[in-house]
């Protein structure tokens, strides 16, 4: 008889001692309460699955031994054939076109000004359309991918212009009032209007969000008037164009990030102004990498970051709020500064990017809007270093910067499972802003 290994004996004693912790008294009752809410699965369902015992002998039994499996496979095959043939017919009837258009990015090579460039998704045909300092994410695709809204200056005042993706055809939106400046903010979903932000003004009442027609045909309309001492910035239209979310930036907050304050939603006509971020938190916008809030594709919800007080501790999380009201719900764990959050075009996923925790490795996460199925795409625990991501218009890809701990790298694409696909740029730099337009 082989003597018993003393290590195993010690291990078993230890396991017994560890297991002695009592189960919570309520655990069984809680489980039964939950079970009461779900029905037993019907016998036919389990029959189709071949039972639930699933002993190894069942696993090695050939599938063809089960007639019900053959029946279901046959039905699936028939259905798939119908779908494939039908889709082929429909595709032949429709013009072929990709929904992914050009990519725009801002590249900072630490030499001179940052360059603003558009390129096709394979990385060729780079077109530099602007150079700027201290601009960050200040250029915006029109919804149809045919134009870009950019900042410019006229007589020393901040103004907004619209250009073609190749940098030509610049058209500066004309404003009769020279006492305040208006910078680019957002396109309305139909592209007919633009929201602009007044961040320099002679009078306090001039600070706010403004709206005008993108072709310059309508008068300027002030939608919000900033709270005294604040500015209203980073406007973002809801998908139906009826509402605008924006940052009420409080310059009195510690200067730890580009802008911090509160997230508000307002109707595009200026009515029904509401604060969104929870009490005791601060909404933060960073100067680069992406937008700090995102509307759901159906416009009923909005996700955003919020930082717990004190602000300079940087304890940040992603929250989701119903536009019609109710308390926002935190959908992520607390982490470091959240630089961007973006909803997938199909509404099924949310991606957010988080600054590093002092280890030089930012993190990018993906999860369902209710916070489930969370997984890390970029950062420690993954083979990828870099930061932040934005969806392709067709929702099949994520564009991100892959780089080193100093933020230098190139733009790449990955799928939503974190599988790296293509390298887009081939010039190591800090890509401080990137977005993807639909095909015109």
């Amino acid at each position: 008889m082989t003597p018993r290994d003393p290590f195993e004996t010690t291990l078993e004693h230890w396991l017994d001692a560890e297991a002695a912790e009592m189960a919570p008294a309520t655990i069984h009752d809680d489980a039964m309460r939950a079970a009461r809410l779900v029905r037993q699965r019907p016998t036919w369902f389990i029959w189709l699955r071949g039972g639930v015992d699933a002993a190894p002998r069942a696993r090695v039994r050939p599938l063809v031994a089960r007639p019900q499996v053959l029946l279901v496979l046959g039905l699936i095959l028939l259905l798939a054939t119908v779908v494939v043939v039908g889709a082929g017919v429909i595709r032949q009837l429709q013009p072929q076109s990709s929904t992914n258009g050009r990519i725009m990015f801002a590249r900072d090579r630490a030499v001179g000004k940052a360059e603003y460039v558009t390129t096709v998704p394979d990385g060729s045909d780079e077109v530099r359309f602007m150079e700027a300092d201290q601009c960050g994410q200040c250029t915006f695709w029109s919804p149809d991918g045919r134009q870009i809204m950019i900042p410019t200056t006229v007589d020393g005042r901040l103004r907004t212009a619209i250009i073609a993706p190749d940098g030509t055809q610049q058209r500066t939106l004309a404003f009769p009032d020279a006492t305040f400046g208006l910078g680019p903010g957002a396109w309305s979903p139909d592209g007919r209007q633009v929201a602009l932000e007044a961040v320099e003004a002679d009078a306090a009442s001039q600070y706010g969000i403004y709206v005008t027609d993108s072709d310059g045909s309508s008068a300027l309309r002030q939608v919000t008037t900033a709270i005294a001492g604040r500015t209203d910035e980073v406007p973002t239209y809801s998908p139906d164009g009826r509402r605008i979310a924006f940052l009420s930036k409080n310059p009195g907050n510690p200067p730890v990030v580009y802008g911090s304050g509160d997230l508000f939603i307002v109707n595009a006509d200026g009515t029904d102004l509401r604060k969104v971020n929870p009490t005791g938190t601060t909404f933060v916008a960073t100067a680069a990498n992406g937008r700090p809030m995102a509307w759901s594709p159906d416009g009923r919800q909005i996700v955003f970051n919020a930082v717990e007080e004190p602000l300079d501790a940087g304890r940040s999380a992603v929250y989701l709020a119903n536009v019609e009201g109710g308390d926002p719900v935190r959908i992520s764990e607390f982490g470091s500064w959240i630089a961007m959050v973006e909803w997938s075009p199909d509404g099924a996923w949310i991606v957010w990017g988080e600054a590093d925790n002092g280890d030089g490795r930012p993190r990018t996460w993906i999860a369902h809007p209710d916070g489930t199925a969370v997984r890390q795409l970029i950062g420690p625990g993954t083979p990828i270093s870099g930061c932040c991501a934005t969806w392709s218009p067709d929702g099949t890809r994520l564009l991100f910067q892959r780089g080193d701990s100093r933020g230098n790298g190139d733009l790449w694409t990955m799928d939503k499972n974190g599988a790296v696909l293509d390298q887009i740029t081939h010039q190591q730099a800090r890509y401080i802003w990137f977005s993807w337009a639909p095909a015109p």
């Binding site: 290590f7 195993e8 230890w14 489980a31 079970a35 009461r36 779900v38 639930v52």
Partner: protein, 180 residues
């Protein structure tokens, strides 16, 4: 069992109430996390309730329940993968002198550290075999893996744990030598 399979929740509750404590112990050992273990037990019980009608061999109820639990533990561990922090026992009661039946507290701490270094799958094989006392074949059946895989996984887990303990034992000596 028959009533439970016919949809009698009270019968199912009676059937499982005496097993819940052991299920929790298994989940707690595999996951090393109190709340996750609670979640896993609840998920396993609900899944068992949903699928009980399909259990062809009532004598395999316990094995089947353990299989559901281990799968629930895997899912809980996966969901928790992003949590770098591991639950720590804030204050473990220290037995009085001579009251530790298994030797020194240091050994327990070493076992604890070694166990935490194992993957969820490795902890599962150790728990099924060494805590539940299942034979290798039964444990493999519960985990839904071939016997050979079970054997190699258990062997590897034991090696990892031994190595961790031996490394822990060596560390102070090396530190001491460095100091000299």
């Amino acid at each position: 069992m028959l009533r439970a399979r016919q949809g009698d929740l009270e019968a199912f509750s009676t059937l499982t109430s005496s097993r819940t404590g052991r299920l929790f112990a298994v989940a707690r050992l595999i996951l090393r996390h109190h709340e996750l273990a609670e979640d896993a037990v609840q998920e396993a019980l609900i899944r068992a309730w949903q699928d009980l009608r399909g259990l062809r061999d009532p004598d395999r109820f316990d094995a089947w329940l353990h299989r559901l639990l281990v799968r629930a533990c895997y899912r809980a561990a996966e969901r928790d993968r992003r949590h770098a922090a591991v639950e720590l026992d804030i204050e473990r009661p220290v037995p009085a002198a001579g009251g530790d039946p298994q030797g020194s507290i240091a050994v327990r701490d070493q076992l604890e550290r070694g166990f935490r270094r194992l993957s969820t799958e490795q902890r599962a094989v150790i728990v099924l075999h060494h805590y539940l006392g299942l034979s290798l074949a039964d444990a493999a059946d519960t985990l839904g893996i071939p016997l050979g895989t079970m054997q190699s996984r258990l062997s590897r887990a034991t090696q990892v744990m031994r190595a961790a303990l031996e490394a822990d034992e060596r560390t102070p000596a090396l530190a001491g030598e460095t100091l000299r």
